[in-house]
């Protein structure tokens, strides 16, 4: 039992690191390239909103940057998780290994990417005059719930996609629509009151809104809302593990 756990842990570390390296491989500027996509999106949106639409809210740049960085992890992490099972079919068909590790490693390497992007955010935040506050510590539990949420979704999608290959394209559409239905570019306070509750049902809304409140001081945070996000993250992860364990053996044969 202990040996199994040690093996899983070693495998997890090695595969996470390998995945992370592969994403930036073949170019010294690899990491900078990976930043380019969120930064370019940020630049365009920032110009549109401040220059064209005359948005004058304080820290709007930081507001947008944090939203895009977090959303980027949601998309990258869930997509990597979805692909990790079918993408490793050679390994899966030739040897027994705890396959759940493959998904966890894919999501975790995206999580390392999020970590580096948050360092970039930190630089901008310091430049923009954000100062330390103990409130910010509450961001870390939120980050863990976020990781759980994405891992749970990745686990479910990794099984679904074996049977329904269309999910690969479908998920791209879902995340694209989600970008607009989640408060990435706008604060929750701009959402009409009667829809706000429903939008908060999407745990991503809480994650974005509360992260901004905790790190930048914009928007608001309610305790029930924060708890909801934490519980939702854990529940989705459990659901993901349950679905994965339930379908895993069958999907190995269908690969």
């Amino acid at each position: 039992m202990a040996a199994d756990f040690n093996y899983s842990w070693r495998l997890f570390k090695t595969l996470t690191w390998t995945n992370f390296k592969m994403r930036y491989y073949g170019s010294i500027l690899g990491y900078i390239w990976s930043l380019l996509k969120p930064l370019a999106l940020f630049g365009v949106l920032y110009i549109v909103f401040t220059v064209v639409m005359k948005q004058k809210a304080a820290h709007y740049g930081l507001f947008l940057l944090l939203g895009i960085i977090l959303w980027e992890f949601f998309v990258q992490g869930s997509t990597a998780g979805m692909n990790s099972f079918i993408g490793n079919y050679q390994m899966i068909r030739k040897l027994y290994l705890p396959r759940i590790i493959l998904v966890a490693a894919a999501v975790s390497s995206a999580f390392i990417g999020l970590f580096f992007n948050l360092l970039v955010f930190l630089v901008f935040a310091l430049l923009d005059g954000i100062s330390w506050s103990p409130r910010m510590l509450w961001f870390f539990p939120l980050l863990i719930a976020f990781y759980f949420l994405v891992l749970g979704i990745g686990l479910i999608l990794s099984m679904v996609v074996v049977k329904v290959r269309d999910m690969l394209s479908l998920w791209e559409v879902v995340t694209q629509l989600g970008f607009w239905f989640t408060p990435v570019m706008y604060p929750m306070s701009n959402v009409p009151e009667k829809f706000r509750f429903y939008e908060f049902l999407n745990p991503m809304s809480g994650i974005l809104e509360y992260s901004r409140y905790l790190l930048i001081g914009l928007g608001s945070l309610t305790k029930p809302g924060y708890c909801y996000v934490m519980v939702a993250g854990v529940m989705v992860l459990f659901a993901g593990i349950a679905v994965f364990k339930w379908k895993e053996a069958e999907m190995v044969e269908d690969l």
């Binding site: 040690n6 093996y7 070693r10 495998l11 090695t14 595969l15 390998t18 390296k21 592969m22 491989y25 073949g26 050679q90 390994m91 899966i92 068909r93 030739k94 040897l95 027994y96 290994l97 049977k163 329904v164 290959r165 269309d166 479908l170 053996a249 190995v252 044969e253 269908d254």
Partner: protein, 243 residues
């Protein structure tokens, strides 16, 4: 002697590919005959025992179910309900060399990746790294991406890593089929070493010669069932009669 592996009433049924629906469109179009199941029994009620320290050969024609059997023993596929498999000791499947090799990574990185997948710890890999490189004769190429290797070079590297795996039970699937005769001789001497160390070895192959040379007992699988089991000479004779 205690048996290393005991198999009782082992069956395996696969759903046939036409029942699996790939895309959403296909799924929707075939939705109406959802309950029609076409199945194929690949293994039908297998019973056998493998003793500890035994070199056990499995032979059979393509499609007889021997690879499925190996995958079930390796834990890749689950057998049907009611099958009983008891395994004493850790089992190391070698169904293919270089599982997890990534062409974009260097030889060195692939050694660490592949060896980790095969169950070695980091300190074990570090300790045997020099030996792996020397055995593969790739001293000058370890920092080169594996995509620039010739196929012979990657096989040598993969084999050198696989040699480091140490488990009481080894499952080998025609690993010998690849490579030239020098390489095959290397494989054979590895088998000799395993035998001397008292490991239990299960080998699936088409090659009657290597069966005769190594096996203590051979099992012939024919049409999803155990057709014969026992002395290599006799079982191989039976195999050739059938073919």
């Amino acid at each position: 002697m205690k048996p290393a592996i005991t198999v009782r009433n082992l069956s395996k049924t696969f759903r046939l590919p036409d029942e699996r629906r790939g895309t959403l469109r296909e799924r929707l179009m075939k939705f109406h005959h959802r309950n029609e199941r076409s199945e194929r029994r690949t293994l039908d009620d297998l019973n056998f025992e493998i003793q500890q320290g035994e070199f056990f050969g499995i032979i059979g024609r393509n499609g007889s179910g021997k690879s499925t059997l190996l995958k079930i023993l390796a834990g890749i596929y689950l057998p049907d309900k009611g099958s009983e498999i008891t395994i004493h000791g850790r089992i190391a499947p070698m169904l293919e060399l270089g599982v997890g090799f990534n062409p974009e990574l260097t030889g060195r990185e692939n050694v660490f990746l592949n060896a980790t997948i095969l169950g070695l710890t980091r300190s074990q890999i570090l300790a045997s790294y020099e030996e792996i490189v020397q055995f593969a004769e790739l001293e000058d190429f370890m920092e080169l991406q594996v995509k620039h290797y010739s196929s012979g070079m990657s096989v040598r590297l993969a084999f050198a890593v696989a040699m480091q795996v140490d488990a009481p039970i080894m499952l080998l699937d025609e690993v010998l089929a690849v490579g030239d005769f020098v390489f095959q001789e290397k494989c054979f001497s590895l088998f000799e070493r395993y035998k001397k160390e008292g490991k239990t070895i299960i080998l699936v192959t088409h090659s009657a010669a290597s069966m005769k040379r190594f096996s203590d007992r051979v099992m012939l699988i024919q049409n999803s069932r155990v057709e014969a089991i026992g002395n290599p000479e006799e079982v191989l004779k039976k195999y050739h009669q059938h073919v």
